[in-house]
Amino acid sequence: MLLIHCPYCGEDRSELEFRAAGDAHIARPANIAAISDEEFADYFFLRDNPKGLIYERWRHIHGCGRFFNAVRDTVSDKFVMTYKAGEPKPDLSPAPGVAPALPADSRPVETYEATEGRAE
């Protein structure tokens, strides 16, 4: 069970109190009635599925009830940071020369590559 920091309560609380609410920083177009099918598909249907940092919305549904944003690492499942809704998207790309969070030789177990990649 994860601990999640609610930026409104200022507390680390159990994952049980929260609900995930999809990707963050996707604004509803102000002129939504007028946008094209492609623009609507981009806005509503299409999402990235990154390996690494993902920007998400969470709600402290069994706490203060507020929606906030979080940066989570999809490899380690760790929350890198949380911040209030409406605050700008933080730039967390690693500075040049800084080692990534996991060592170069680390690999997820039990994926196809992990189990099959090196088999003859």
């Binding site: 069970m1 009635a33 509503f44 929606f67 380690s76 090196r118």
Partner: protein
């Protein structure tokens, strides 16, 4: 006397305290503190089980949780019976009944033993390859039979009468394992001022100090030091010391699950004591001090009863005072077995010979052996053993040679070295690294805030262990914010520095494929099975594991992993680190379902929501149905009525007189603020600006993709205040949906949302007599059609209670919905019942509600819609504001697929035979004779017998449905095809006059 093999003066148990127990019906005496295994060994019983697949006779291998063979059934009484308990862990209590498993008719004569003779046919993958045809027979014949024969224990059939507790805990430092390393680390962290939890799986702390009588700490015997340190920790306020507690799962952010066995060792536990307790600990820092597990030697017939680990023999002797045999052979590739031999010899046991596969044992061992008169054969191998129910001899050859020598023995202790227990570290998502120098996997890259100390970290020397552990305790305490007094490092000394170790099969155990040299005792996996898996094309260690089942189930690689890996690596011609380890999984040892479930069973498995009128309804004989977590009155049967008769009567009564209905579960949200109407304009398809205070409107809510999300009546109480109702099931998600938009997309709007579902009790009174029933109870509202027409709302007093009174209808009849504060719900319900009685009106339940609304074609979101219907599909296009500039779903509605011709639309269906009630979910086709696969036009969403219409009615979604009015379609069922006519959705009072009463 508590057994012929008990050595006077040896061990730490008190001969004064004894307990009686039985094993397979035979009675034995144990000493207090004995495990089942030690007590049976004391009585000369080695045969404790049968193996999983071949049903080979098996004895105890270990003295700890890694035990693969001695799995027993333990019972206290008829209801309290637990299979698959490790005899090496279960403490004996007075009166306990122990049974062996997986044998028929008896442990010493087991018919299943024929599997052993047939074993050439039972190679790895045998089941997968053999029982393939016919396909259906797998589930019905093969699998049940195989499971029966290759079973472990039998599950108890009665409900578990025990109860289980759970506890959450937070601490600065959690120490897993209470051996020398764990104790030193916990003490150092505690002295620094950190709050510490120390958990150890054994009854007493000490870990390997239980057997290692050569270890000395701070000038005293290691075990004595452990007990002294444990007492010191128990006396500290900032320390929680948990014995008999196994950390079995390590999850994200230092969240560790532990199982505490509270009463399993007690003869007569207190009635209110839980049997086990689940601890869920969140620790700022974790110190892993899980030690290491000795490996057996892999050689031919290494599984006979009486062949066990050297350290286990040492534990039985030094802790329990039990000799595992009188003529003991030793087969080893590691120095630790020598110390076991020395201890046994000093206790008067004959050591027949030490067979060492190595050329050169560690320093000083040969001299010590010589001085004790023990013969040592270096560079030799054991290539065979004999003895059906107990090992009787071992046959020894020089490595690479063939000159055989046979020794008569009654026990054989083995060691091929020690495997660091990296289970917890690996579960924490840390990456292990292979240490080529010592041939073992050790903690490498850490992912969480933890550290490994002691032998699980590859530290072997006792002084080094104590230094490492003390430093870790200080460091982890400091990192959690505690810099108190630093503890002095205890001084430790081993008798011998252990060297050696091997992984894989010993000389003589292959590569030919007839020798049974067991790698995994529990799953009957031999060295040859792993080689076979490689030959058959399994080149990944994960595949080899699954094909052979090596290290699976409860073993989780404790004994078998490294051996299996080494044999696979050899067969593959690759190095051990390239082949890699399989994943360690939680739980580390088996955990009972009771522990995981805790209190959450029976009535408190899931919360039950009851309306304020529940008790009254119950007293009136209502039948209830579950709607989500709610208990709702389903129908109110009278004497002699079945459900069908009761519902027919309730339906008739509502349309001829009146009925009253508990609608309290309806979702309710209070929307308040200067921008409340503007907000609802964005959330609903309808327009709310034109709705005047005192009036209601039916609203539809979409998702952004244009599909119907929820519906309900919204009443405007004041300019800035709306009373919103939602479906019963939709209440939480509608609230979530509204909050989402309010907080993130429309934060400029000044609106407050409050869930009031449980604040209001709601009584719907419906039917031609509704006004006459309600009027005498209402103060302050003129109920005439003119003053209070359909779709009105007013704040009033009902039965003297402040109320919101709605003139609404979900039946098509004249109707009112009385909202009163929940605490008054039961009283007002009873007042309504009393007022209704003279009119012959009755209460009705959800089933009647469903029929009545279907008679009028009123949809239920979630039943008649399924998340792919637009308002137009549902016949509700009129509720979408055409001139609105924006609302949630406005763009989605314009998607090409949502505006195309031929979409599925809600229509009515009338069966040609009015007595046939369709099945909900049944598919609809145009041509019943079309060859399969037939073209499905849609499906039935609601279907009922309508007593008022005198026939069956149904709602359905049908492609292009509204253009098919009057056409005949077909509903193919398994036994017949039902002809139906497409109709509109209103089956009663098509003009709709009744609602205006």
């Amino acid at each position: 006397m508590t057994g012929a093999n008990r050595i006077a003066g040896a061990g730490r148990l008190t001969p004064a305290k004894t307990a009686r127990f039985s094993f397979d019906g035979r009675s034995y005496t144990a000493l207090a503190g004995d495990t089942v295994a030690s007590a049976l060994l004391a009585n000369g019983v080695h045969l404790m089980g049968r193996s999983f697949k071949y049903h080979r006779p098996r004895g105890v291998v270990s003295a700890g949780p890694e035990e693969p063979n001695a799995l027993i059934n333990v019972s206290r009484d008829t209801a309290r019976s637990q299979p698959n308990v490790r005899a090496t862990v279960q403490e004996v209590f007075d009166g306990m009944k122990v049974g062996s498993q997986n044998r028929y008719p008896s442990l010493s004569f087991d018919l299943g033993g024929v599997n052993d003779a047939l074993s050439p046919f039972f190679a790895a993958g045998f089941y997968y390859k053999t029982f393939m045809w016919p396909k259906q027979a797998w589930a019905s014949i093969y699998e049940p039979r195989i499971r029966e024969a290759a079973g472990l224990g039998v599950s108890p059939t009665e409900e578990d009468p025990d109860h289980y507790a759970c506890r959450y805990a937070h601490c600065d430092v959690l120490v897993i394992g209470g051996g020398a390393a764990g104790l030193a680390a916990a003490r150092a962290a505690a002295l620094s001022g950190a709050s510490v939890i120390l958990a150890d799986e054994q009854p007493e702390l000490g870990g390997a100090l239980h057997f290692d009588t050569g270890a000395e700490i701070d000038g005293q015997n290691g075990y004595a030091w452990a007990q002294k340190t444990a007492r010191e920790l128990v006396g500290m306020e900032n320390v929680t010391l948990l014995s008999r507690t196994t950390a079995f799962g390590y999850y994200a952010q230092n969240f560790v699950a532990m199982a505490e066995r509270v009463t399993d060792h007690i003869s007569r536990p207190e009635a209110n004591a839980p049997r086990e307790r689940l601890w869920q600990v969140r620790a700022k820092r974790v110190i892993i001090a899980t030690g290491s597990i000795e490996r057996h030697m892999v050689f031919a017939d290494n599984d006979r009863p009486g062949i066990l680990l050297a350290s286990a023999a040492r534990t039985y002797l030094n802790h329990f005072g039990v000799a595992v045999g009188r003529k003991v052979g030793v087969y080893t590739a590691h120095d630790s077995a020598y110390e076991a031999a020395f201890d046994l010899k000093r206790a008067g046991v004959s050591i027949v010979a030490i067979i060492d596969s190595r050329m050169r044992p560690g320093e000083g061992l040969l001299e010590q052996a010589r001085s004790l008169g023990i013969e040592v054969f270096t560079d030799h191998a054991v290539i065979a053993t004999s003895g059906r129910l107990r090992v009787a001899s071992m046959t020894v050859v020089p490595n690479g040679g063939s000159a055989k020598r046979k020794f008569t023995i009654d026990a054989l202790i083995t060691s091929s070295g020690w495997t660091p227990s990296v289970h917890m570290f690996s579960q924490s998502r840390g990456k292990v690294a292979y240490d080529a120098a010592t041939g073992r996997f050790l903690p490498g890259h850490y992912v969480q805030d933890c550290v490994s100390v002691g032998t699980c970290n590859g530290t072997d020397d006792l002084q080094a262990i104590l230094e490492e552990a003390t430093a870790a305790g200080v460091k982890m305490a400091a990192e959690s914010g505690h810099d108190g007094a630093a503890a002095a490092t205890p001084a430790g000394r081993n008798l011998f520095a252990w060297t050696g170790g091997m992984a894989g099969a010993a000389y003589g155990a292959g590569p030919d494929d007839s020798v049974k040299a067991f790698v995994d005792f529990q799953n009957d996996v031999c060295a040859k099975d792993i080689r076979l898996a490689v030959r058959e094309g399994m080149h990944s260690i994960e595949h080899i594991k699954r094909f052979t089942t090596n290290g699976m189930a409860t073993d989780q690689g404790k004994l078998s992993n490294l051996h299996g890996l080494a044999i696979a690596a050899e067969a593959l011609g690759r190095g051990i680190p390239e082949v890699g380890l399989t994943t360690f999984r939680a739980p580390y040892t088996p955990v009972t379902f009771g522990t995981l479930i805790g209190h959450a069973r029976g009535d408190i498995f899931d919360p039950t929501r009851k309306t304020p009128m529940h008790a009254v309804e119950e007293a009136n004989g209502a039948a209830f149905e579950d709607v989500g977590q709610w208990k709702r009155a389903w129908y109110y049967p009278r004497a002699g009525e079945d459900m069908h008769a009761a519902v027919n009567r309730e339906c008739r009564t509502v349309r001829t007189s009146a009925g009253y209905f508990n609608a309290s579960t309806l979702g309710k949200i209070e929307v308040v603020g200067p921008d409340a109407a503007a907000f609802l304009n964005l959330i609903y398809t309808n327009s709310w600006d034109t709705l005047k205070p005192g009036r209601c409107r039916y609203g539809i809510m979409l998702r952004e993709d244009g599909f119907v999300y929820d519906d309900g009546v919204v009443g405007r109480i004041a300019e800035d205040r709306f009373h919103v109702t939602t479906t019963t099931g939709g209440a939480p998600r509608v609230m979530h949906h509204m909050e989402d938009y309010l907080q993130t997309e429309f934060p400029h709007l000044d609106v407050w949302l409050t869930s009031t579902t449980e604040q209001w009790a709601v009584i719907a009174v419906q039917g031609p007599k509704a006004r006459e029933i309600v009027a005498p109870l209402v103060e302050g509202v003129d109920l005439s059609n003119e003053a209070f027409p359909h779709m009105s709302v007013a704040e009033a007093k009902v039965c003297g209670v402040p109320a919101r009174l709605f003139r609404v209808s979900f039946t098509g009849e004249l109707g009112y919905e009385i909202n009163v504060p929940a605490d008054y719900g039961a009283a007002v319900w009873e007042a309504v019942a009393k007022a209704a009685e003279p009119f012959g009106a009755c209460p009705y339940g959800t089933e009647t509600m469903h029929v009545l609304r279907a008679e009028k074609g009123y949809i239920i979101v979630g039943q008649d819609t399924d998340g792919t219907l637009t308002p137009d599909d549902a016949g509700l296009a009129w509720a979408v504001g055409k001139k609105k500039p924006d609302f949630v779903g406005i763009r989605g509605l314009k998607r090409p697929d949502l505006i195309r011709e031929g979409r599925k639309q809600l229509v009515g269906l009338l069966t040609k035979d009015p007595n046939i009630v369709l099945e909900e979910g049944a598919q609809i086709v145009a041509d019943p004779n079309q060859p399969k696969p037939m073209t499905m036009l849609g499906h039935v969403t609601s279907a009922y017998w309508s007593e008022n219409a005198g026939r069956s009615i149904a709602l359905a979604v049908v492609a292009g449905g509204r253009a098919k009015l009057g056409q005949t379609l077909y509903v193919p069922m398994p036994d017949r095809t039902i002809a139906v006519e497409v109709s509109d959705m209103v089956f009663i009072d098509k003009e709709g006059g009744r609602i205006h009463g």
